[in-house]
Symmetry: C2
Subunit: 300 residues, 2 copies
């Protein structure tokens, strides 16, 4: 089992986590959460989303959040679904953009109102904007390992999408298991092929823990040569297609797993658990992080 | 990633799970649970424990349970801590014995009131009894990957214990991560060495999901050449040393993981979820199985 020395964790809780919460988290609390995450050592944080406030009311304060964390020494990403969102993000001075698309047409049409192919076409000009505006950018492809409408996905289609994204200028490609159905064997096989075929790309994996396989999938991804993972503090996130399901893999548990395996994440575990404590106080519900649950009494 | 075609799951919920529950499960419900587990396809089930009823009141009905499942076509194991327990188990006609010992002296003295060395000495004559009485037997070693009192464990000590167990006649050796602190890197390294060094032994791994690493550890164990795993329906079990901790890895999630990876377990997943439903009705609390939580609404 060949393991790398370092793994990058991209904290996406403030965006992917909070967008799914039942209630709006006050802007000042969002800013405090992000500040604490920066102190934990995260270098890249997905801080918010520039979508229409009617679509995701929880993140309607995107500009105020970015404005409030301007002095923090980390790279902040925001999710952007279209040209309009891009303009808002640039105007407020975001460092990096996460562009979303879906691997399956059914999910794409439902979520973004266009086919996968049309998404890639639209992204082409946005990538050019990013290059001109000198911003970081990454693609985030939903439903890669399975789709709530189409079921199993085909590797050939995914490889084709990755190729198209590389062609229009993406260097960082995030592959998301939106509904948590990936299994370690699939992750290992697919990512081994993709990391071999697209050596110029930095792949990022994004797992959900719907069936408890999140950390096993991280392990399989690492073995296949992937060194960047999205995760969400407190395992926030949920899955609109699986009632009762847990959300994204929890940052606390991923960091703990990797550090126990002597893989460096650059994250201070003690500070991270203190941040979990802050977050639980903000959202008034039990976080979905195993290590937080066990250590909770010690932090209080 | 080389994977086997088959994996054996040893269902330990009726013993390791129920012993930790807050209340006694009525004997007839225990028998019903075990009958349903047999129908799911489990070939080996740890059905109860022959310990003093004062030590584990929840399993005080060991004889009645074994008597009630006599007609079922599976191999039933029971946990036995000493000579006295052995006599009770044989008298009622148990098929197989799980002998327990601890890898660390501190845990051993606290749990069994003797050192690891003395445990092995006592087990020596019990193994002879088993051979004479023509019963199956396996060792189950606690605190292998970490100890609540001594912290980290040393591989050399574990390898020495395995060697001693092989010498006194054990063919099946279960290594338990009693407090859930094992990590995949450790599991892979240790089990690769042990499976190479003791080719005559069948190793069985027993993981707890305290820090959410249970399934990742199963994956690492499989890659190291281990093909038998203990698990507990509904993730029952808990950990007396970690308040708030989850218990054993959940049978439902392990079976689902393996079947998704095209590894055959011989277990009918639909029947298994119906058994989860029965169990939840018996113990009146939410089970700790991800796939059960997601599928619950469909089963009701």
């Amino acid at each position: 089992m060949k393991l790398p020395e370092n793994i990058k964790i991209i904290e996406i809780g403030p965006r992917d986590g909070l967008q799914n919460e039942a209630t709006f988290l006050e802007t000042k609390n969002k800013i405090e959460l992000i500040k604490q995450l920066v102190e934990c050592g995260f270098k890249e944080i997905e801080a918010t989303s520039f979508v229409h406030p009617r679509a995701i009311p929880n993140l309607a304060d995107a500009e105020e959040v970015i404005d409030g964390i301007r002095e923090q020494s980390a790279t902040f990403f925001a999710l952007v679904p279209n040209e309009k969102g891009y303009e808002r993000a640039i105007k407020i001075g975001i460092h990096g953009i996460t562009f979303v698309l879906s691997a399956t047409d059914s999910h794409s049409k439902k979520n973004l109102n266009r086919s996968t192919k049309d998404s890639i076409k639209e992204l082409s000009s946005l990538v050019e904007h990013c290059q001109k505006d000198n911003r970081l950018y990454r693609a985030s492809v939903s439903t890669v390992f399975g789709c709530p409408f189409e079921g199993q996905t085909e590797f050939g289609r995914i490889a084709g999408i990755v190729e198209s994204l590389a062609k229009i200028g993406f260097k960082r490609v995030g592959l998301c298991d939106t509904i948590g159905v990936a299994n370690p064997s699939q992750v290992y096989q697919w990512m081994t092929k993709l990391t071999n075929e697209f050596k110029q790309l930095e792949f990022e994996l994004h797992f959900h823990d719907t069936y408890g396989r999140g950390l096993a999938n991280v392990l399989a991804g690492i073995q296949a040569g992937v060194f960047s993972f999205d995760s969400s503090i407190g395992g926030l996130g949920g899955c609109p297609y699986a009632p009762g399901a847990t959300g994204n893999i929890s940052t606390e548990d991923v960091v703990d797993l990797l550090e126990e395996m002597k893989i460096n994440t650059g994250i201070d575990k003690r500070k991270l658990l203190n941040t979990s404590h802050t977050l639980e106080g903000f959202i008034h519900k039990q976080l979905n992080s195993q290590i937080w649950k066990v250590n909770k009494s010690k932090c209080l």
